[in-house]
Structure formats: structure tokens, C-alpha cells
């Protein structure tokens, strides 16, 4: 075993992910670079320390043939975050740096800088929370994020995290370059060949700063593969993302009848103007929260956000107390599995609807910054589950119809979805090969719930229903997924093949084995 520089070594007997879908795994070797209490006063600068640590860790994993996974905030519910023999905790790889103006291409400067866009380098362990704070302090903001801010940037993009920014894309669509460590003595600064934002100076600077020889690779397929890497293209030391001038978001929640014709039309056309005649501008964010058991006259909640100036200074919101305790959620989950009769089923359905109505009451908030709107999660850790189905927008209603059919059939057999559905829309961005937003516009139906013994049965029925309807779909890489080779091939088509080819080109066979995961096998991407 080498002496890993600037790194705390330990093991963990029982490690679980945030939602408890992966539980009590033993981690033989947990490595945390950059532990503050371990840094000698005479140590080299931070990026050099990180480089020395990563170089030694990756070289060791390849030499010993041990699987190496990098822990983000472990919010993913899928096996994409199953720890390997070595787990690297990137918590302190969290430096945020502005890319020098002199290193931007002329084209980027004219087309983007002139409009206020700014390339920012962030190490892979930097959280969305930290980015919101640090960027906000200098008048900048992320272009989009997920619903909350706990993810680390490398993990967020690796799994295709998105919001519902209907005119932008997913988080990975704001990425301009990825710094990948693929061997102990080799890193790649991967940028698109088409319209790169930066010159090779950035890769050269990273080589000098980290001490890891870095080649600038300008390749459209390699870049599009690295945008959503599933954690399997090497260690993401850092990314360059595009920030934009700080904005505020005014949020409005409007309860609707699930069967409202106007709502249906808005989902079909993505023209929301008829839903808010007093505010005749297209929103930045459009989302519909749906009850799985819509009651007469209700069951739908439209969430809209518009970009506006916001006056108060950016703040860094503290954590929130989860809605309900894990004990109570476990109790409800257990109860849901016990109650099978029609009366009990109706009770559960009414409970779901009551909780939804309480959570999504009508409101029209004053503008707040993205870091506040998409702040700390209130989801209780330990007992959640969710799948998210992504389809081309044109299939949205057929998909919803199939899902509601499956949900009704499951309810008739006494199994209930103890949660809600979130319908979000994400346009195609730069074209990440494994981005879920493959179509011009993609509809995402997230089915979050309390975990019960019935939950996976319900999810499987929904996936099968879509197969029967021959609707090409994929599941969110970070959520419970029915990722089979056939489904992946049907949805991603040639892009899945390109991703596999890019992985083969970026990694040696030995490195390929080190960065493999069970998900690659089940999705046919290994």
C-alpha cells in the first residue's frame, strides 16, 4: 500500500447512500484527499496537493486492479454510486477559480463574454451550494441546477442532473470542459472541437498546477461522453462551467384540476401564457406536480418561475429539517404494504392528496436567488425511492397514460405509490451522448416516494407498460432504473455506441476495469 499524500485513509464497516437504497456496504479503503487538519504548513498549494493525491490513488488502483469510485454527495438512488474496492471522497476538492480572460477563444469572447457569460473552473467535489454562494458573491449564477443544492458538481453532471429550465437544458449543458484523470501520470482536458471556449493554455495551466501531465483533447465525441460520464471515464478532477449574470427567480404555484383542458394544452405546447394571463411572459421554469390518485377538481400543481432582478444580497441558506422523521416514513412505508383492501387504499390515496395540497398551496413569492430557491433539500434521508422516466416530449401524454394505467392496476391489487409525480421539461442542450435530454424537448416524469416493499414492483410495472406501448424511454441515471441494454439502445441509439467507443479511446483496458460499475453492465455500456 503506498503512502497516499495529503490523504486520510480509513475503512468503513457500514456505508449507506442518502436515500438508503444502498445499505451497509463495507468499504475496505476510503480515501479523503485534502483533510484540513492534515495539511502541513509547508505543503504545496492546494491544486498540487490534490494532483499528487489523485495521481497516487489512480496509479494504485490501476496497478492493483481495484475498482475505484468517487463519492459525490451520494444522493443517487441507483447502483451508479455503488462503492468499489476503493472509495474516493472528493469533499475537499472544492476550489473555484475564474478562467483567465486571455485564455478564452476570440469566438467565445465575442459571442458569450460580451453577454456576461463567464467560464469558471470548479474542482469535482465542489457542491452546488458552494457554487451558488461563491458565484453569487461576485454577481454570477449557475445557468440551472437540480431541485436542491447538495450535489457535488462532478456527481451532478455524471448522472445527468437537471431542473426544468425550459429554454436551457440540464446541468451538464453548462459544462465547457472536463479535466479527467485517466492514469497516474495522465490527465485529459477535454473540450469540444467545435466552438471551444478556451485555448490550450487552460490545460497547460492545470498540468502545471496539479503536477499531472495533461493533454488538451479537442474532440466532440469525447467531450459529449465526458459530460455525462456515469463516473466511469476516470476521476473528474474538475470542470469548467459557464456562469451567467446573477438573477432572481419569482416563483408561483397554481393548483389545478388534473383534468383541466388548459393545463393539458400547456403541457402539450409548453405555452404556459394562458395559465398566467396577468403575467404575459414565458417562464424560465415550468413544472407540474401530479398526484398519482388525482381527486375530482384537483391533483395538479403548476410551478412556474420567472427571471427577475432580486435586490437582497445572495445568501447561503442553512440546512432544513426534513419534513418527516425517518421512523415515521418507515412506518408509513410499512403501513402502505400492509393495507391492501379498497377502503385502506382510498385512505392512503387521500393521505397522499392531503399532503400534496398542504405542500403545494397557491403562492406567488417575491424574487429570490437561485441558491435560495434551489436550496437545501427537505427530503428525509434514509427511506426514499424514486424513478424518473424520460421520453421525447411528443410521447409525454402517451407515457403519462401508460403510467397512470399501471398505477391504477397496482392500486387495484393493493399496492400504492406513496408519493407524487413531478413532470419537468428539458430541451436538448449541447448533445451529451448519455444526457437524458436527447430530444428537442424531453419530458421527465419523476416518481418520488417513500420506500416500501411495493415500490419497485410499481416501478417495474410502469417500465413494462412503456415497453408494451413501444415508447422509447430511459430512466434517470441517478435514480432507480430499468436500464437494460435494449432500452438504452432504443432510447440513445447510436449515441450509446459512441459513448462506449469514447470510453475505449479515453481509457486503457486496465483503467477501464478500474472505473467500471455494475450499472455499465446492466445498461449494456461496459
Amino acid at each position: 500500500m503506498p503512502d497516499f499524500p495529503h490523504t486520510r485513509e480509513s475503512s468503513v464497516a457500514r456505508w449507506s447512500n442518502y436515500h438508503g437504497t444502498i445499505r451497509d456496504r463495507a468499504i475496505p479503503l476510503l480515501l479523503v484527499p485534502e483533510v484540513p487538519g492534515e495539511i502541513d504548513p509547508g505543503a504545496p498549494p492546494k491544486l498540487r496537493r490534490c494532483g499528487e493525491a489523485l495521481s497516487t490513488i489512480v496509479a494504485h488502483a490501476i496497478r492493483e486492479g481495484k475498482t475505484l469510485r468517487v463519492a459525490g454527495s451520494r444522493w443517487s438512488l441507483s447502483n451508479v454510486i455503488e462503492p468499489g474496492a476503493i472509495l474516493l471522497d472528493s469533499a475537499y476538492m472544492n476550489e473555484i477559480l475564474r478562467v483567465r480572460t486571455a485564455w478564452l477563444t476570440t469566438e467565445y469572447t465575442h459571442a458569450r463574454s460580451a453577454k456576461g457569460f463567464v467560464p469558471i473552473f470548479a474542482q469535482g467535489g465542489t457542491t452546488i451550494h458552494s457554487l451558488n454562494k461563491a458565484l453569487g458573491d461576485i454577481g454570477l449564477a449557475l445557468r440551472t441546477s437540480g431541485a436542491s443544492d447538495g450535489q457535488r458538481i462532478a456527481g451532478a453532471i455524471a448522472t445527468g442532473t437537471h431542473g426544468s429550465a425550459i429554454a436551457f437544458g440540464a446541468v451538464h449543458d453548462a459544462i465547457l470542459a472536463v479535466h479527467l484523470v485517466v492514469a497516474g501520470d495522465k490527465a485529459l482536458f477535454v473540450t469540444p472541437r467545435t466552438n471551444p471556449a478556451m485555448t490550450a493554455d487552460v490545460g497547460d495551466w492545470l498540468a502545471a498546477a496539479t503536477g499531472i501531465p495533461t493533454e488538451t483533447l479537442r474532440d466532440d465525441d469525447a467531450f459529449s461522453a465526458a459530460q455525462v460520464s456515469l463516473g466511469s471515464l476516470g476521476v473528474v478532477h474538475g470542470v469548467v462551467l459557464e456562469a451567467e449574470p446573477l438573477y432572481g427567480l419569482r416563483r408561483r404555484v397554481i393548483p389545478f384540476d388534473f383534468r383541466d383542458a388548459g393545463l393539458r394544452q400547456a403541457v402539450e405546447t409548453l405555452d404556459t401564457l394562458p395559465l398566467h394571463p396577468d403575467r404575459p411572459t414565458r417562464p424560465f421554469h415550468f413544472e407540474v406536480v401530479l398526484s398519482p390518485y388525482p381527486p375530482a377538481g384537483g391533483g395538479a400543481f403548476v410551478v412556474l418561475m420567472w427571471k427577475e432582478d432580486a435586490d437582497p444580497p445572495p445568501i447561503s441558506p442553512p440546512p432544513k429539517d426534513p419534513d418527516l422523521s425517518v421512523d415515521l416514513f418507515n412506518f408509513i412505508g410499512a403501513l402502505g404494504s400492509i393495507i391492501r383492501g379498497p377502503e385502506g387504499g382510498r385512505l392512503i390515496e387521500n393521505l397522499v392528496n392531503t399532503l400534496l395540497s398542504q405542500r403545494y398551496s397557491a403562492r406567488d413569492d417575491a424574487p429570490r436567488f437561485p441558491g435560495e430557491i434551489f436550496g437545501p433539500t427537505t427530503l428525509p434521508p434514509g427511506n426514499g425511492t424514486s424513478t424518473e422516466i424520460a421520453v421525447a416530449h411528443e410521447h409525454a401524454f402517451a407515457t403519462l397514460s401508460a403510467i397512470y394505467g399501471a398505477i391504477a392496476a397496482e392500486a387495484a391489487e393493493g399496492r400504492h405509490h406513496l408519493g407524487a409525480f413531478g413532470l419537468r421539461f428539458v430541451p436538448r442542450g449541447q448533445g451529451a451522448l448519455l444526457g437524458m435530454n436527447q430530444a428537442g424537448m424531453t419530458a421527465h416524469i419523476e416518481m418520488g416516494a417513500i420506500r416500501s416493499t411495493d415500490a419497485m414492483t410499481i416501478f417495474r410495472r410502469c417500465w413494462r407498460a412503456l415497453d408494451l406501448e413501444r415508447i422509447p424511454f430511459t430512466c434517470h441515471w441517478g435514480q432507480q432504473g430499468g436500464h437494460t441494454p435494449a432500452r438504452v439502445q432504443r432510447y440513445f441509439g447510436n449515441n450509446a455506441t459512441k459513448w462506449r467507443s469514447a470510453r475505449q479511446a479515453l481509457l486503457t483496458p486496465a483503467a477501464s476495469a478500474v472505473f467500471a460499475s455494475r450499472m455499465l453492465g446492466s445498461a449494456g455500456l461496459g
Binding site: 486520510r8 480509513s10 468503513v12 457500514r14 449507506s16 447512500n17 442518502y18 438508503g20 476510503l30 483533510v35 484540513p36 487538519g37 492534515e38 495539511i39 451520494r74 471522497d89 469533499a91 472544492n94 476550489e95 473555484i96 477559480l97 475564474r98 478562467v99 483567465r100 485564455w103 469558471i120 473552473f121 470548479a122 467535489g125 457542491t127 451550494h129 458552494s130 457554487l131 454562494k133 461563491a134 458565484l135 458573491d137 461576485i138 442553512p318 440546512p319 429539517d321 426534513p322 418527516l324 422523521s325 425517518v326 421512523d327 415515521l328 408509513i332 382510498r346 385512505l347 390515496e349 387521500n350 393521505l351 397522499v352 392528496n353 392531503t354 398542504q358 428525509p380 434521508p381 434514509g382
Partner: protein, 167 residues
């Protein structure tokens, strides 16, 4: 129609029961969680003698029943020390470097500055050891079994980024 109303009422009753069951103060807290505006970092398990990387890392520890939750005052990320007060129950935290700035008493649902002149002999209190690895920056403290003889303490270091620098 009337049947529907009854069912809806049942759902509301159940929802109200759930809300009531989460009001931990009704039953008295047996666990305490304190967190600040920082970012989750590595997890340690501490006893009176030492801290070590946690052998059990299960995020559901953040959200147990009968757990009191406190948000530390703005900027209280550098933590000089912490003392468990099982009787309250609550925790006194020293915000700032050791021997430094302000002590807050987190008890009965809120953290309030503690007047040093108020006098406190520390009887019945239990010092919480903080991991040296955190470098004095803590994101979260969780004490399980605050009224027991051997409370279990989990400490998450803070891993917040600094301000934006230049390449």
C-alpha cells in the same frame, strides 16, 4: 359524494396525526442535531476520548424521531468547542476559534447567545470532542441518546469552498 367527503376527512386526520407525531417536543427529544449553512464533509464518530472516521455512515441519522434540530447562527462554521447539556436537553457551542468569540446555548428549539456573566458550573455537562481533521470547521453535530450515560456523537466536517479565485 358524502362517502368521498368522509374519505377525504380520513386523509386529513391521518395527515394531522403525522404532523403531530413529528412535533418531537411533545414527547421530549432524545437526539439533537445542529447544523450550519456550510457543506457536508467527512463524518467522524467521537467519544469522550477521541474521534475517528465513522464506521457506520447512514444519513438517516439526521432525521430520527424525537430529534431536536437547530440551525447554528450565521457564520458559526469555525467551532471552538461544544458541550452537551443532557438535562435540557441541549448543546452549548462556542462559535469562533477556541477561547474566542461567542457561546450559544441551543435549547428548547433555539440557539441564543449565552451571557458569560450568568455563571455556569458545568455540572452534569458532557464535553463533545471535535475531530482535529476538520481543522476547526464543522458542518454538523449529531448527538444520539442525549440523556444516556454514553451518548453517541457524530461530527461532520465542513467542506465549503472559499471565494472564487483566479487561475
Amino acid at each position: 359524494m358524502s362517502g368521498k367527503k368522509t374519505e377525504g376527512a380520513d386523509g386529513r386526520v391521518l395527515a394531522a396525526l403525522i404532523a403531530a407525531a413529528t412535533a418531537t417536543s411533545v414527547f421530549g427529544a432524545v437526539h439533537v442535531r445542529l447544523a450550519n449553512e456550510g457543506t457536508s464533509g467527512p463524518l467522524y464518530e467521537c467519544d469522550a476520548a477521541a474521534c475517528a472516521p465513522a464506521q457506520t455512515d447512514d444519513p438517516s441519522r439526521k432525521n430520527l424521531g424525537r430529534m431536536d434540530f437547530y440551525v447554528l447562527p450565521d457564520g458559526c462554521v469555525a467551532l471552538g468547542g461544544a458541550v452537551l447539556r443532557p438535562d435540557g436537553p441541549g448543546v452549548d457551542v462556542e462559535c469562533g476559534p477556541p477561547g474566542g468569540t461567542t457561546i450559544y446555548r441551543c435549547e428548547a428549539g433555539a440557539c441564543q447567545p449565552l451571557d458569560p456573566a450568568a455563571g455556569d458550573d458545568g455540572a452534569g455537562t458532557w464535553p463533545i470532542r471535535l475531530p482535529a481533521d476538520c481543522g476547526g470547521r464543522i458542518h454538523e453535530l449529531i448527538v444520539l441518546g442525549v440523556r444516556t450515560d454514553a451518548p453517541k456523537v457524530y461530527v461532520e466536517c465542513d467542506a465549503s469552498s472559499g471565494p472564487v479565485g483566479e487561475m
